[in-house]
Symmetry: C2
Subunit: 243 residues, 2 copies
């Protein structure tokens, strides 16, 4: 599902080939836009099949590398990013998803902090796209992104993953903005505050954000004793978990 196959078999391989890819989300405020929205980095394919088209970052799975590690490594090699959150999404293995060969892709999804995403290199072969308005991608990657988007939006409501878009300290307005951007609808500030406080996932500090043209908002931090992901039995010491 990516740039370079380890070997180039002249004949049909006797077994499926295993690749790892990652859907990476970051929030980005477009110039002129009021709200931030979800963007993701794609890499341009430099060889057949789908040469020249955009695709998810990824690569073949080395025999001696964990799945999550391979996802983190390949996405870092191509985009320079280091995600704050990384979770397995789904494994895609349809027979016809790669012309002429059988490739099974274990796909991860990742969230990166906004400022980290801003630092990320854009180049000839790496570019950010708005998640809701993508071109036709290589392979079945449009479907994969759709599914990742759906998972992100669904999971945001019952877990703490919004954390991954923010830094160490943040205001409730910033946290609300993350939710609004992902869910694509405005949330009542007062009700949002009440909900978050009831969830006990954030801790109020006694610091305030200064320099605003209005009343300074209190800064919060996340309660790090709470598992952000809600993976059940996989949440603890486990395989498949990113480094």
């Amino acid at each position: 599902m990516s740039p370079a196959p380890r070997t180039k078999p002249a004949h049909e391989p006797a077994t499926a080939e295993l690749a790892v890819s990652t859907v990476i989300f970051a929030l980005h405020t477009e110039a002129g836009a009021a709200l931030p929205s979800l963007w993701l980095p794609l890499v341009r394919r430099t060889r057949e099949p789908f040469q020249g088209q955009w695709a998810l970052p990824g690569g073949w799975l080395p025999v001696d590398e964990e799945l999550g590690k391979a996802a983190a490594r390949t996405l870092n090699e191509t985009t320079g990013l280091t995600p704050k959150y990384l979770e397995q999404l789904y494994t895609f293995g349809a027979l016809d998803r790669s012309p002429g060969r059988r490739v099974v892709s274990v796909v991860y999804w990742a969230l990166v902090q906004s400022d980290e995403a801003a630092r990320a290199a854009e180049g000839e072969n790496v570019r950010w796209f708005p998640a809701d308005d993508l071109p036709a991608l290589a392979f079945d990657h449009n479907l994969i992104v759709d599914y990742a988007l759906w998972r992100l939006r669904t999971k945001l409501e019952y877990s703490r993953i919004a954390h991954a878009f923010l830094g160490e300290m943040f205001t409730l307005a910033q946290l609300r903005e993350v939710h609004e951007a992902v869910l694509q609808r405005p949330l009542d500030p007062a009700n949002f505050r009440r909900t978050i406080e009831a969830s006990k996932t954030v801790i109020a500090t006694d610091e305030y954000l200064a320099g605003t043209p209005h009343r300074p908002p209190r800064l919060y931090r996340f309660d790090s004793t709470i598992d952000p992901a809600d993976l059940g039995p996989l949440g603890r010491a486990t395989p498949g978990k990113a480094s």
Copy 2:
């Protein structure tokens, strides 16, 4: 992750090997037990590693077979079962999960109807176990079952998968019994009725179950226009979906 590797490499393979396994759940009422509980069929390994230990049904992935099809086929070959529900669970790929080689397993989970499970063959090398009280299994299969159990219990609350344990027509008491068995706690009959009716997932027929020693309960059927799984974009025409 299963009986027979296609080839027996004398040296370390150049790439990870791909297997498919399935966690199969059925409800079974133990003799003397009041409530039914979750059981699952395991197969005894007939060769190393873990020879003699119990493991999930599965097998190597053929190059020319869809993931879900391979799961359905291998579980049918070993247990004779045909599940009513089959969904991808997770892909396990830790380096040390199979001694001496790298195996990545795409694991599915399945639900079978109670009467189908009753017909299923038990034999020397296939036996049913209570899901909450398993022996030490081969590989990382205990972890896999734990995760599948967690997913089943979590998903039951927001989807319609309880359907898969029942036949075409059923009473609300039978549906409630499924929920009670999976969640392992009693549910108030009146409140359960109210919740189910509000969800609009079942359709009342004008037939009643006769022969009970009390007031005959009305029979219901599921609204087949509703997707039972809630898979988002993967819910429609998709890869990875079972046959």
